[in-house]
Amino acid sequence: MEDEKVIETFGLSKIYPNQTAVNKLSFSVKEGEVFGFLGPNGAGKSTTLLMLLGLCQPSGGSARVCGLDPVRSAREVKRQVGYLPENVGFYQDMDAVQSLEYIADLNGMERNEAKKKTDEVLNLVGLSEDRSKKVGIYSRGMKQRLGIAEVLLKDPKVMFLDEPTLGLDPEGASKLTDLIKSLNKERKISVLISSHHLEQVQKISHSVGIMIKGQMVASGSIDNLAKEKFGVDDKEYALEEIYMKYFQEV
């Protein structure tokens, strides 16, 4: 694995009038890896993602995404980063193709190129059959896959996935996880994934970061974290055990 870093933060903070959402966060994600971004609800994960995209101004510290400063060159960052928000929304009366074409349009793609890319990503996420159905009647799993398709449309270097498996049935969730894994492997897309499905995160992540109350309490590969908490051991720990251990300590 190369040691290029796609994401790096230096003391990144976000302070709201009556609450510190992100507190001097420093972590990095290497190129080509899947980084599991863990933490309880309200730990500041989404806020961190928004700051990395330049959608919200940090109160302190700085960040680098693909070597760019998201505050100064937000548009460039957004060109390279695909973001799938938590509970992504769609225009109910458009079909999958129209939704994708709108995104392509916003990315400034040519009409022919957009058509080609649309076919390609629909195939990739397995929605070719339902391409002309209105998004309003899509199931949750299909919507999430369409969301990923929209992210893939612009050939991102990095994907930010905020709770992509939230509310999916076990089969749908594991399918989606497999998809993310294969995208990382075959297309060399770095992935920053925040999720509560620890098993699945363990399955695909190269390293994880645990964020609690705005602070990164631990980050590194799962094996390293296990060693740190449980001492040198040959036994393979489930991510859940490690996570709970950290959680109890704070």
């Binding site: 957004k78 916003l106 990315n107």
Partner: protein, 319 residues
């Protein structure tokens, strides 16, 4: 620009395929046809036997046939078009979770609001121009007069003023849709402001004028007091976009009117002299008369849009 045109195209196609546009357009078209038809019939009768009537064509728009003229109708219901096209522009997307998706694409954030505003203005323009053209067509058949160059110019300026007037309300509705998270709240707030500015300001103006510059009806007529009273009333009613618009459009569409002020303000001699010279004002002079109103109307529209722009740029978008 790439972002603006993408949003613009999408919004425009949304407007034209939405039921609310179809209903609104049908309603306005119907009312306009009926009023101008009434005006046409009325005109035909009153022009019978007149040797050389002038500006007959424009009368289609400003003659109060049975109920109200086309100009009055637009002054009255125009705001509703703007409000309906804009009241859920931003907060619907926010609620659906699509706004965050759009702004996380490589576009400037202002493209979203620019595209939406421009699409609204285009929709309004298409609506107004087509209605004016259809009414003109009906007029041609009904009256058998062809509009002169000046009349076409006047109509053109009138349409332009109307577009700005309705765009003001569109901008206001978009501002409310940025401000209020709930669609119902922004719709109600916009309609409430419309009713307040259009109807209550002119009512309140006369009440306030009586307080500030009272006219004692018991005493002999004091001209100065009466004029003061009217001045105050007119000043206050300038806060209503509807009276601004009425003042601006009336003189443009009716060349026989020589002032944007109401006739009440004129002294008896002025009235006599105005009556003696029953000649139409040249276009240039009409424009000079209404120029200040047009400027205020345009600047109101721009200020309104600028505020929405600023609020939207600093607002945090999370969903």
């Amino acid at each position: 620009m790439q972002g603006v045109s993408a949003v613009y195209r999408k919004e425009l196609s949304d407007h034209f395929s939405s039921y609310r546009f179809v209903i609104l357009f049908a309603l306005i078209a119907m009312v306009s046809f009926i009023t101008s038809y009434m005006a046409g019939i009325h005109l035909k009768e009153s022009l019978h036997g007149v040797a050389k009537p002038t500006f007959v064509f424009l009368m289609l728009f400003n003659t109060t046939g049975a109920l109200f003229s086309m100009v009055q109708f637009v002054a009255f219901f125009g705001p509703l078009i703007g409000i309906v096209l804009g009241f859920d522009a931003i907060n619907r997307e926010r609620g659906d979770g699509t706004l965050i998706k759009i702004v996380s694409q490589p576009i400037y954030r202002d493209s979203v609001i620019n595209g939406k505003f421009l699409a609204g203005v285009t929709t309004i323009s298409i609506m107004l121009v087509s209605i004016v053209l259809v009414i003109s067509g009906i007029g041609l058949i009904l009256l058998g007069v062809v509009p002169g160059v000046e009349e076409v110019w006047r109509l053109f300026i009138y349409v332009l003023i109307s577009i700005f007037y309705i765009s003001f309300w569109l901008g206001l509705a978009i501002l409310f849709s940025i401000f209020f998270r709930s669609i119902a709240t922004s719709a109600l707030a916009a309609v409430a402001l419309w009713i307040f500015l259009s109807f209550f300001v002119s009512l309140g103006a006369s009440v306030l004028a009586d307080v500030i510059a009272p006219v004692d009806t018991q005493e002999a007529v004091n001209t100065e007091a009466a004029i003061n009273n009217i001045r105050v009333r007119q000043f206050i009613s300038l806060f209503s976009p509807m009276s601004l618009y009425t003042n601006a459009s009336a003189t443009i569409i009716d060349p026989m009117r020589k002032t944007a002020d109401s006739l009440v303000l004129m002294g008896p001699m002025e009235k006599i002299s105005a009556g003696r010279f029953e000649n139409p004002l040249p276009l240039g002079q009409s424009i000079v008369v209404v120029y200040p109103y047009i400027v205020i109307l345009i600047s109101l529209t721009l200020v309104c849009f600028a505020i929405s722009y600023m609020v939207f740029m600093i607002q945090e978008i999370r969903t």
